[in-house]
Symmetry: C2
Subunit: 236 residues, 2 copies
DNA sequence: ATGTGATTTGTACTATCGTACAAAAGATCA
DNA sequence: TGATCTTTTGTACGATAGTACAAATCACAT
């Protein structure tokens, strides 16, 4: 069923605005913000540089719109999955469900964009590495609530672990998640072709498995400053 | 004892070349490669822009020299620690020692630069996120051997885990390591001040504890395509 | 068909980028 | 001291950056 566009949602060519957004997302996610010029984006989208200015005013505005486009749906989906996960009775299964609720929306799409989830998450990873100011503001005020919700949920299913440890481990989870999306080829290379780093389903399973175990690790006894663990000399 | 410089290792001002390297390292690590101009670096080092060209020819050459400066010492230290770790008898302790041998040199300095280890590792994280070509080449040909050595060592102390899983989990380790250095403030924020994300010793302990547990997680039974794990519906 | 508002195009402006290069200044040693 | 080499400085050049803006073009209601 081909729907006739009501009035303003379609441009001359089929949605040039969307094409610009998609191209910018892809280029920013793979090359960083500063390495990509407005002209690069326009060319990749088959548009005129001035068209970018028309739709998004500035380059920062374009980045802002990319975030606006994805943050809502992704957080919504995470909330849904988290709520469902919290209803799982078995504690071990619940923990895994919670981790999965955090990981899955980052790989699969939160909205209807094809493959948009992984691409946007990779974009977030790159912006965070570059210390992008626009991204930093949005992230802190958009994702911190969600992060706290997950941390609390995990803490409830692991009451004997101090919250500080949970925070660290969920931080590690996000780092691992980011890095898997940034350099999937490294996994393929180091496994000598036995694993495919760009296989989202495989990455999710590996990540969930490893992360659940990490969360279940015994707590760090921060009370004991004296070193209890084995130490290895640096001299051969 | 003040040593008179033999001839060419000292410039007019005390080692301007080193100052430029340090400034570039710091700026690249916090803002990315493309966001930092040669003029920014020169100003931060108290040097003239032309001086950067004189010492390093191009901006890429400067980045290259930063890598050359650190890769050797860091890999050497890792090799030493790994060799020592492999001599640990107890399997559990050995695994922890191996992980520690991988993590510690990334935080503490591999060479004599003050705090240079963490700064350089953060630089590597940012360059990897930006997909920097110069960095990619050096990394692949400098760190892959070391990575393989660690993967093999871990595999030996966990023979029942398939190598593929070890690769994934060590990939997660590196991602977590990178991310801890990129945004330490996030840990402080999410823990509501209870943890200090920029405390290297604390980060190391948390990372080692979590990672050892992740490595010890049961293997992913990749033979069974039928889903065995609990799945949560996305609908509330 | 024609007028109107939305969009695209083409071009231009200023700022800043990486880099080159000649001149100045310092260091070294006969 | 003067000759020579190394390092620093100052300036300039072409390329490209982000953005602005007027003209051209399109979609569509009348």
């Amino acid at each position: 069923m081909v729907r006739k566009p009501t009035s303003k949602e379609s441009a001359r060519k089929p949605n040039m605005r969307e094409a610009i957004l998609a191209a910018a997302e892809e280029l920013f996610a793979t090359n960083g913000f500063n390495a990509v010029s407005v002209r690069d984006i326009a060319q990749a989208a088959g548009a005129n540089p001035g068209s970018v200015t028309y739709h998004f005013k500035t380059k920062d505005g374009l980045l802002l719109e990319i975030y606006r486009r994805h943050c809502g749906p992704m957080n919504l989906r995470r909330s849904e999955l988290l709520a469902a996960a919290k209803r799982v009775r078995d504690l071990q299964d619940r923990l895994e469900a919670i981790v999965r609720a955090y990981v899955v929306p980052a790989f699969t799409s939160g909205s209807d964009l094809a493959g948009g989830g992984a691409r946007f998450t990779r974009l977030r990873a790159v912006m965070s590495a570059e210390g992008n100011e626009v991204a930093r503001k949005i992230i802190a005020q958009t994702f911190d609530d969600t992060s706290h919700a997950f941390i609390d949920a995990i803490h409830e299913s692991l009451p004997h672990i101090p919250r500080t440890d949970i925070v660290w481990r969920s931080h590690f989870l996000l780092g691992a998640l980011y890095y898997s999306l940034v350099t999937p080829d490294r996994v393929s290379r180091l496994s000598r072709g036995e694993a495919d780093g760009s296989d989202a389903a495989g990455a999710i399973e590996q990540l969930v498995q490893a992360t659940v175990a990490a969360f279940q690790a015994p707590a760090l006894d921060q009370a004991a400053p004296t070193r209890r663990r084995p130490v290895v000399s640096s001299k051969t």
